[in-house]
Amino acid sequence: MLVTTDASLATHAQVRLLSKGYLVVCITRSDEVLNTVYDDPPDMMVVDLSTGNDGSAEMIASLRGDSFFSAIPIIGLVKPCDAGAFEWENCPLDDFIQLPLDYNELFCRISLALFRIKRIFDNNPLTRLPGNTSIQRAIEESMGKPLAVCYLDINCFKPYNDVYGFGRGDEVIRMLGRIIFNAVRESGGGFCGHVGGDDFVAIVPMERAEVVCQTVIAYFDRIVLDLFDEETKARGYYNGINRKGAMDQIPLLSVSIGVVPTDSPHLRHAAKVAEVAADLKAQAKDSKKSCYIMDRRRG
């Protein structure tokens, strides 16, 4: 979306952007911008700020104030004389370009902004791993290929969080995120995402899935020993509130993994993969220790 009151700039920029394969919506009145964005959010916005007081800064601030739209990259066009004295805090842009427009620079900055947003769009603030939208996309892209989707979570996480406090709970989640990320990367690469809470997803080539699961389990079980005091480790449990809300002996933390190959014929949809993986993970939970379960069904 291009926002400018300068008609000749609008026409020119629109043509140049179209030639690069971008769909361009051009808006010349700032009071129409928000409606148009809410109606059909653009992938990115280029806003002309050279004309001064036309409400553009307020428009940008109010977009940024709504977290649903705050991720849309916005590039500002500014006069060279304004750039030095610009109040960036009141006009939260992602990037700016000085007028007169150098189109090569504009194209480069648009590409960069789009790549950047794709990279960090839904990263989880706790682990900085990609979140649900990226996970969905990654699972869809892996359908039919010889890959495996692994669903992971922590057994007895909630009571740990309750007893030891959410600061320690957050630390465990960060640790598991880092362990999965390193296990995937050190096995030769793949995808690693954070659904939220203590739920994670990893996607790796089928032949490496078991090694990755074994590595994650070995590492997590090692790290867990650092999270409990000697008496608790020796006892093997601590006292906390179980799922039924009753006082109970809670076992030490462990990890469960469900593994689903993405090329099995009975799984035609990404949603089905998620469902089967979640089922397997639930089965893995029956063991009180860390373990992984592979989907062996074929056909």
Binding site: N182, Y219, R222, I223, D226
Partner: protein, 268 residues
């Protein structure tokens, strides 16, 4: 003062480099090399405990490597500066640290103490203050060395005389700046004065005993000509029997042959 790049022995960097070029460097293999170097170990623990990662209390190299990952450890190692080996003192100190780490591990095993890996790490790092002093106070360092030789002083006494501080204090300061957990910083700070340890007295006593045993064995060079006495406080805390002590000395002798071979491999 920038201590972020404490120098590491060139051999260690070269070995890590070889490992990382093989592209299938496992955490275990790399940990074996990293745990031979007090400076590199300290830097890796500093990173694992730094606020940006959000972990607290990472006190062993293997756990730090699990959380940081091989890639981070590799690039950290490759950005290390080398010890300028003008004389063999840095190798002597490096061997001394390696020996104390091994001895601390043996003692912890003998007494069936929990967290023997943490104790070994504390042993490896106990003289990290000396690395800082040799890096930052070159002139004073040579004066300290002559004072140790000529006046029959312990290096701590000479350090106090020349610098108004000593390697244990400097090491404690570094451990604090680097967010190292108390398990490690207390033995670093009090390995010459066990009674001042607060939460980790037993670990501190083990490192103190290991330090004395290694100095007595003549392995490496911790910078002292004299062997310090084992403090009563440490005896009382550890309660080693005569038989355990005799076994320990025997086992340590075998262990040090192993450590010496490893050290030569690193310097090859």
């Amino acid at each position: 003062m920038d201590t972020r790049t404490l120098p590491t022995l060139p051999g260690v960097i070269l070995k890590l480099n070889e490992l990382s070029e093989s592209n299938r460097a496992s955490v275990q293999e790399m940990a074996r090399i990293v745990t031979s170097d007090q400076a590199l170990s300290a830097r890796i623990l500093r990173l694992a405990n730094s606020p940006s990662y959000g972990f607290y209390r990472v006190s062993t190299i293997s756990n730090a490597m699990i959380l940081l990952g091989v890639n981070v450890v590799k690039s950290l190692a490759l950005s290390s500066s080398f010890f300028e080996i003008m004389e063999n003192d840095s190798v002597g100190l490096w061997e001394h640290s390696l020996g104390v780490g091994a001895a601390a591990n043996l003692i912890a095993g003998k007494l069936k103490l929990p967290e023997s890996e943490e104790i070994a790490t504390a042993g490896l790092l106990h003289d990290i203050g000396k690395v800082v002093i040799s890096l930052k106070c070159r002139d004073a360092e040579s004066r300290i060395r002559s004072a140790v030789r000529e006046k029959q002083l312990f290096s701590r006494e000479a350090e106090q005389e020349m610098l108004d501080t000593d390697h244990a204090e400097v090491g404690a300061w570094l451990a604090k700046c680097w967010f190292l957990p108390d398990k490690l910083s207390e033995p670093i700070a009090f390995h010459h004065d066990v009674s001042r340890a607060m939460n980790h007295r037993v670990k501190t006593a083990v490192v103190h005993l290991a330090d004395v045993l290694i100095k007595a064995s003549g392995f490496g060079n911790g910078g002292d000509c004299l062997v310090p006495l084992i403090q009563q406080e440490a005896w009382d805390l550890l309660r080693l029997t005569d038989q355990q002590l005799a076994e320990l000395v025997d086992e340590l002798e075998d262990k040090l042959i192993e450590v010496k071979c490893f050290s030569q491999e690193m310097q090859a």
